[in-house]
């Protein structure tokens, strides 16, 4: 073996380069393309103008998620523009022959939840979607990243996009996670350490014993938020956990073909001696339940910490943005968040709306009741998650606690559908972004794990989950 050792990222990338020409970015072949109603209409228009079909329609799957209501999904969408966007997707998918998991379909759900649960997402693949959280699919050991609509059109038209190979970063976490610490805390911790732009230009590989010990659901939560530190994407090498998860899933290879695929997937590991452009290491024992206090996901801290003051920031240039951010949040520098009352609790989004997340929440709230005056929404990531939750009786646990279990969609993760957090209100949210107005104009978001969100729903305020378990 005289070949240069490669990272898993390089192996997958190199295997998908259709053409590498001097002076051009690589033409990268895309195995799987997911589309949704928001970022696809202009791309379909482009095809129509050129008079061309999709290059290989069997590699594209569509769903409706961003604009959909989470109540009364069988009725027409009330808001005219949202309805128009979903209807446009319907019309486009029909005209171009794209498989669509529309409202009412048993496979409908948030695009990054349904791909994995249907087995469409597989190790070694290149996967794109006009959505930055496409990085979620990297949990299976694939190169998955978000693209803009011009690129959606490129993939539709040619099954390729033009890309420069990003640099590689390894983030290694070893050791054992403490009590009450879950994968959401790991990723919030990493981002708080390296900032919202700390991995820009890189493709991250997560590794180490604290990562390989995680379930697929938990791995997806981590990869999902890779984009929140600027990374192009993030992946985890596939292993037995991955193969077990995929076995028997609808679009995964079946029978002998599955065994053969596993044999190939096992090759997808970083070679001994392969070099990353950057390596970071953290100790799992140092991670505590996390919460964000500001308006980007890098502004996070241990739930027991206090918000820093502007003078504690590393760079003076950051002070103005920091002050602006706290003003938006209505919070004081140097104060703790513990005990801060919350108005809304949102458990959902492509970060934390899988069955395991719902089980975590149900486990901790069972037999308890939400605090008076707090509105609690539990939004399953997909129709399949919703049905599974009902099969397991989680719906009853939620109902007894006063949590509202609704139908799948992006919901209050972004203020685009009916579910919005009102101006000035505080929401503890399991989603991935705390940007100004993200959950509705002037809404204020604390990002946290499903466990932390669940206990806040019970106490009505920011709480250290470790006091509860």
């Amino acid at each position: 073996m005289s070949q240069k050792p490669k990272t898993i990222f390089e192996k997958i990338w190199d295997a998908h380069v259709v053409k590498r020409a001097e002076g051009y970015p690589d033409a990268l072949f895309i195995d799987r393309h997911f589309i949704h109603e928001v970022t696809s209409p202009q791309a379909f228009d482009g095809l129509r103008q050129r008079g061309i079909p999709l290059f290989n329609v069997s590699r594209t799957t569509a769903t409706a998620d961003h604009n959909v209501p989470t109540k009364d999904q069988h009725l027409p969408i009330k808001e005219a523009l949202s309805r128009h966007q979903v209807e446009t997707l319907r019309k486009n998918c029909k005209e171009f022959g794209v498989e669509l998991y529309d409202l009412g379909h048993p496979f409908q759900g948030i695009v990054h939840i349904i791909g994995p649960e249907l087995g469409l997402t597989q190790p070694g693949m290149t996967i794109v979607c006009g959505d930055s959280h496409t990085s979620t699919h990297g949990a299976f050991g694939s190169i998955a990243f978000g693209i803009g609509t011009s690129e959606v059109e490129q993939v539709m038209a040619t099954q390729c996009i033009l890309q420069y190979k990003p640099r590689t970063m390894k983030i290694e976490i070893n050791g054992t996670l403490g009590k009450g610490v879950v994968s959401k805390d790991i990723i919030l911790y990493i981002i708080s350490r390296i900032s919202a732009s700390g991995a820009t230009g890189y493709f991250v590989e997560y590794a180490g014993s604290a990562i390989s010990g995680l379930s697929m659901e938990a791995r997806m939560t981590i990869c999902n938020m890779s984009i929140e530190m600027g990374a192009r994407g993030g992946l985890i090498a596939p292993d037995e956990t991955t193969f077990n998860y995929l076995k028997g899933r609808r679009f995964a290879p079946q029978g002998a073909a599955f065994e053969k695929a596993v044999g190939q997937w096992k090759q997808l590991a970083t070679d001994e001696g392969a070099v990353y452009d950057k390596v970071l290491q953290y100790d799992a024992a140092d991670i505590a339940p996390m919460i964000t206090y500001g308006t980007n996901p890098g502004m996070g801290m241990k739930v027991t910490d206090r918000i820093p003051t502007q003078h504690e920031l590393k760079e003076i240039s950051e002070q103005a943005s920091f002050v602006k951010s706290l003003e938006y949040m209505g919070l004081e520098q140097g104060t703790p968040l513990l005990g801060k009352p919350v108005d809304y609790v949102f458990i959902g989004s492509c970060t934390n709306a899988r069955i395991e997340d719902l089980r975590l929440v149900a486990g901790i709230v069972k037999g308890k009741k939400k605090a008076a005056g707090v509105e609690v929404w539990v939004i399953p990531g997909s129709k399949q998650v919703e049905e599974q939750a009902i099969r397991e009786g989680l719906d009853k646990v939620f109902a007894e606690a006063g949590f509202e279990l609704r139908s799948p969609g992006c919901s209050a993760c972004l203020g685009m559908n009916e579910d919005k957090v009102p101006a000035g209100k505080y929401c503890i949210s399991t989603s991935n972004r705390n940007f100004e107005g993200r959950q509705g104009p002037k809404s204020r978001t604390f990002l946290a794990s499903p466990l932390s969100a669940a206990v806040a729903a019970i106490t009505g305020k920011v709480t250290d989950v470790r006091e509860f378990i």
Binding site: Y24, G46, Q154, C160, S197, M416
Partner: protein
């Protein structure tokens, strides 16, 4: 769709010295419901430009008539967050041709370039100088010379900037990535069949 050609731009600049400006600020999600590419400029920085009653917020720089031009100058990590190309469309539709910052988020950078908007990376110190200069002289004319990859200030100082050679050619000629990819269709078909 090929774009207008970009060679040299001489223009005033609009300063927005805020860091980590995310795509939800550039164009809030509730304005992403259009199914065409037009008209997003109206809602660029919507919640910074207008209050809850749709009244102009006087203090915001886009509402300040002292500043105008086709160059937006912003703090580092501009365009982080979502992959929505609507952010690039809004900036383009509003009339900006260049965004200058010391750091851009990756997807935004691609989206801007795919829409004929140049994301121009300068050093932190040059960015600071630029902000100071615009504060002192709001009408200062900045020259962006793409051919020679130089950004020049009226005081005669300048800084070289990097741009990928391929992307530069595309901008200068109004080319689109898709034209190149379409020319590879036969090779792609063979690849697809081999990997079915």
């Amino acid at each position: 769709m090929s774009k207008e050609k970009f060679i040299t731009l001489i223009s005033g600049a609009v300063p927005l010295p805020v860091e980590n400006i995310d795509t939800d600020q550039i164009i809030p999600a509730r304005f992403l419901k259009a199914t065409t590419r037009e008209g997003f400029g109206e809602n660029l920085f919507r919640d910074w430009r207008f209050d809850a009653n749709n009244q102009l917020i006087e203090g915001f720089v886009l509402n300040n008539k002292s500043y105008s031009g086709k160059i937006l100058v912003a703090g580092k990590n501009f365009g982080c967050g979502s992959s929505r190309e609507h952010a690039a469309w809004a900036i383009h539709d509003y009339g900006f041709k260049v965004v200058i910052s010391s750091f851009f988020a990756d997807i935004f950078k691609n989206n801007a370039l795919n829409n004929g908007v140049l994301p121009l990376v300068v050093s932190d110190s040059f960015l600071k100088r630029l902000f100071d200069l615009i504060a002192a002289t709001p009408t200062a004319q900045i020259t962006v010379d793409l051919q020679n990859q130089q950004v020049k200030l009226p005081d005669g100082t300048s800084e070289a900037f990097e741009i990928n050679a391929y992307k530069k050619t595309c901008l200068m000629n109004g080319y689109d990535d898709i034209d190149y990819l379409l020319s590879l269709r036969t090779e792609i078909r063979a690849f697809d069949q081999a990997h079915a």
